[in-house]
Structure formats: C-alpha cells, structure tokens
Symmetry: C3
Subunit: 242 residues, 3 copies
C-alpha cells in the first residue's frame, strides 16, 4: 500500500534537496510532496521569520489539499514540522524527524547548537539577513561520506544562503508535546553536522524529546539525500509506516 | 565444532521466543535448550519470586543434565543467568548477555529502568500479580525494525503477562562478579526498549558491569529474535565461541 | 588518482601490522610506506622515549623522501603522528586517526586510559622497560570480532612487548592544534580496547579534540587490520581523500 509523504528540507537547501530521494519513493508506490520553505529559494527575500517558514509549509499543504500523510523534517526542517503538526494535526498520520532538531517550547535552533557555530554564523551574517554554510564544514562535517566532487557539485548547485532569523527566532510549541501523532526518528550514524556526544549530538538528545518514538538508523552523514538517496528512501518508509 | 547453548528469554516471553533462532543454530551444528522461566508460561501462576525464576532454570539444566554450555540471557533473562551462573558455575563455558540487564548485588530490575516505566507497570499491575507490556510500546520501542503485521502477530501469539515480582525482587549476587566465566555482550544498535544514552541505555551501562567482556553488535531492535533471527543466531555464535 | 599513505602502527605491533592492508591499498592504485616505530621491533632496545618514537618516524619519512602524503596513525600511533605533523607539516596532505589517541599538550597516553589499565601495565612492566599486552585482553577486547585461532596466531606472530615510556612520557604539542592540515577520524564501532562511553571511549572523546574533522566509521574491533583488512583499506581511502 502506498503512503503520502510531505518532505521538508533543512537549512541552505530547498525542494531540490529531495531530487534523488523522491524517484525511489515513487517507484515504491508512494506519493511525494516537497515544498520549499519561505526564504529558502535561491534569490528569495531573506528577511523572513520562523513563523513565515511554518506558514509557507502549512499553506502549501492546504493548497495541495494533502491529508493522511507522513510529514518528514530534515535538520532545521524538524523545527518547522513541529509547528506544522500543531497547525494541521488532523491531516498528519505520522511525524518523521531525520537528524532533525526537536525544540522545546520557546526555544530557538541556535541555542541547540555549539557556541562556536553560533559565533560563526553571527560573524558571517550578511546585510540582507542571510548566512551561508562555509564549504569546508559542508565537505568535512555534512557530506563526510561523499567524495570531493559530490561535495563541490552539491554545494554549488543545491545550496544557497539561509535566513538567519529561522535559527534565532524563538519557536512557541504550546501543544506539540501533547499531540497524539505517532513519531519516528531517523539517525544517520556518521552524522557530525552536530558534534556527536551527549552534549550536542542529534541522537538521543533530540530523539528523546519525542517521548515514545520509533528509532530507525542507517549509515551515513547528514546528507545521505545526496550520498545514499535510495537507502534513505527505504528508511523513510520504515520510519513512516504504521 | 558444535557448541551447546541454553537460551533464557526475557519478560512477557517464553521458550517460543527462540522459535526462529534455534533452527539456525542447529543448522550450524549446535545444540539448543530453551527453558520457559517460572511464571512466564501463558496461564501459569504469576505469584512467583525472582528466586523461583532462577530455580526453574537451574532445575531445567540439572534435569536435562546439560554441561559445558554457553548460557545466553535476553533482557530480564540477564538477571536470571547471573544467578544461574552462581548456582552452576562449573557447567558454564561462557555467559552471553543479549541486550540484557546486568544487576549489581542486591539490586532489582525496576531500579534499572526509567521512572516512567516503573510508574506504568505499577499502575497496570493486575490482582494476580502480573503486568502486560502495552502494545504501542511493543510496536514502537521493542519491534521498531519490524512491520505492523509482525508486531501485531508476535504480540498476540508470543507474548503474555509477566510476574511483577520478577522485576521488583532484590537479587542477591554475592559471587557473580568474582566468577571466572568468560562473558560477552550482544548489543543491537537500534534497541530502544531502554532509552538510549548514558543514563538508561543498555550499552555500555550494562555491559561495562561485566569487567573484561567481548562486545558483539548487530543492527536491529530489542526483538531481532523475531525481525532477524538468522543474524542473531550468527551473532550468538560469535559471542559464544572461545 | 593514487594517494601516498604513511601508516603508523600502534603499541605491541610493528610494520607488519599493515601486512593485510597494504596489498588492498596498492591494488587500488595507492603507494604505501609503513615504518616500525623505535622500540617496537621484536628484540629491539625497549629503553626509548616518546621523542625517540617520533624521531624514528620523522627520520623514516625524510630518508624515503615522502611528501604530499596522508599520514595514518592507529591507537598509540596517533600520539606519534601528532608530533610528526608538528615536525613535517608541509609534507602532509591529511592526517587520519584510526581509533587513535589524540593527546592534549603535555599529556601522556597513560592518563587517557582507565586506572585499571595503568595499574596493570605498571605491575607487569619488565626490568628492560617493556610491558606486554596480556592475551585475554587481546582476545576479548582487541580482537573481539575475530575467532580464537586468529587471536592466537596474531598474538604469537605479530605482537611483542612495547616500551613502557612510550605511554608514560609527557608529549609536548605546542603547534599541533593550530596546524591547518585537514584531519579525519576512523572509528570502528565495536572497538572496546578503551571502554566505550563518554569517560574513556575513543569517539567522540578523542575525535572531538581535532576541531573540524571528517568522521568515517566501520564495523569491527580495534584490530580490523587483522579481521577485516580490505574494508579498512577502503575506509582509509575514504578518510584520506580530499
């Protein structure tokens, strides 16, 4: 039986983040929707709030009239699907967080990252309100399981500056933790986009905030959408099924 | 060369826990014994103590006159094989703990689980002294690598209420930590039956209590006996061999 | 394109540590150099300092006139390549630490291992200044993914006593942490040569000291050079490439 998936990308990325994953999901008989979050399209207005980000995904789902779907969030996208779940709880069959942030009520993304990351992005923030991930971090800590050519190509053809406010706005989450939507967490075991370990690591720091959740793991970096999209597609199904 | 294995199941399970594993071990040339722990057969008297659990396994081994065997304990079964090793040290070639509890002297299982688990089982404990694992926990946190149909079928056909006292009785372990029996620990890397992490996770919290031990890991949940019995059989041999 | 690799072994081992790995690297088109660290050849003078160890590798590299190479250090070898990098920074393309110690300035290896290890090696240290790893530790905690025959054979044919001072000498590292050489860390996920966990484990305790680094993981023990040399060769390339 086929599922419906709405895939929400992470920072510095857009709907094209899923280009390699979607064909595999469709070939398995599933339907896929992949919005670009407000402020994340290359060249778009970068002065957007976290609420604008959330609204753009809610509007996309309502406009396409998708319901009974599995909502997947990657990285920063986790903070977006938390709020989308609050806005459209009855449409969502299950939430899947893939190496994603799970914020506590009133928190922002920045405070969940190490101080040297925060300092870096403050420093490189542009007058238009955007900040770009430096290539050496992308190559070593985001795409560590890919080769240099893939790191270079994806950086040039798939990435663009992100709105800084999406990381610094406080995110109100008044109902998220009492929603009865089932939840899963996909953890890539070589993901070092956040420093591994109890203090800053993705798992179990973020996953444990979900309460009862299903854990799915796979080998790979923060960007297996680029380095191993077929296995990611299978793991999204394993995480998303009933 | 063939080994002899005595396999001791976990809570809410019985000898049938190993139905999928035993044929693989036998096909590899090994011999298998699988007792049902007192109070764990469906419909049996649930008013049994931890000492009764231990005695039933000791009696089984003596009755079948098994010696020079590898003693494997899963989950709650770890607390049982610790005590069996104290009672029959000369018969045991090696101890294998598979995502199993390793208790300190005088400890009980309950105090090694998170407070919300303890509160849950206190609340759902029945007048006959038994408590059953709720299905949503089985599906999401015990069999997270299986599909819904397998979770449902195993829950209905392989599980039954466990005697509450097996988790709350203090277990005296006066000689266990000075026994010179070699020890191994099998850790399934997606096991979230206990919350992953330093505070409550299986490994290295439980494994490190063994002193010098051999670590064997495999992908999968707390119940790879149901989701991947063939690989589990191979890992039991890898853990159990000299 | 082929890379140049200089491979630096760990304690109780010598250049033959890489016998199974080198042919795979060469078959992939790479060039390999593998020095034996001073004091580590069987029968050699064991009264050598950590500085002597470093000098022997620096001399080897200069003598063979190797440059633009990837410098790989295993276990104790990590402390050696840290210092070699300080001495020959311009020759090194990338540093790869494979389940290796990464010392802070002025630290020694011993203080980065658990007290029971330190006490053991103090106790078994010989009059000639050497100490040998006991076989049960090699079998259970170093070669846990191999069978008994391989553990026995490698212990007898590949291991010899190590100079104790290599573990107890303080290692000055005045420039290492400001070198701009790219760094990678290979972590074997079943390596229990150091007790897993935040307090004593290899990863992320050692890896995180590198600052920005690339993580590569593979299944296996501390000695996959013996139990899975082909996969190790591939992971060394994955860690070493640009």
């Amino acid at each position: 039986m086929g599922f419906k998936f709405v895939l929400v990308h992470g920072s510095w990325q857009d709907a094209r983040s899923w280009d390699g994953v979607t064909p595999h999901l469709e070939r398995m008989g599933h339907k896929v929707w992949a919005p670009t979050i407000a402020g994340h399209a290359p060249g778009s207005d970068k002065n957007v709030s976290h609420a604008d980000c959330v609204k753009s995904v809610v509007d996309y789902i309502v406009h396409h009239d998708v319901s009974d779907f599995i909502l997947v969030g990657h990285s920063f996208g986790g903070t977006v699907i938390q709020r989308v779940a609050e806005e459209l709880p009855d449409r969502i069959r299950r939430l899947v967080f893939w190496n994603a942030f799970v914020l506590n009520d009133g928190d922002n993304l920045d405070s969940n990252t190490p101080p040297h990351y925060r300092a870096l992005f403050e420093k490189i923030c542009q007058p238009d309100g955007s900040a770009m991930l430096p290539f050496p971090i992308w190559r070593e800590a985001f795409l560590n399981d890919g080769d240099f050519a893939l790191a270079k190509r994806t950086y040039e053809e798939r990435l663009s500056p992100s709105p800084r406010r999406s990381h610094t706005d406080a995110v109100p989450l008044k109902t998220f933790f009492s929603l009865e939507i089932p939840k899963s967490y996909i953890n890539c075991t070589e993901d070092i986009a956040l420093p591994p370990g109890a203090e800053w690591g993705w798992h179990p720091r973020m996953s444990s905030r979900l309460g009862l959740y299903r854990l799915v793991q796979m080998p790979g970096s923060h960007q297996v959408n680029f380095t191993n999209p077929e296995l990611l597609a299978h793991k999204i199904v394993e995480a998303g099924r009933d």
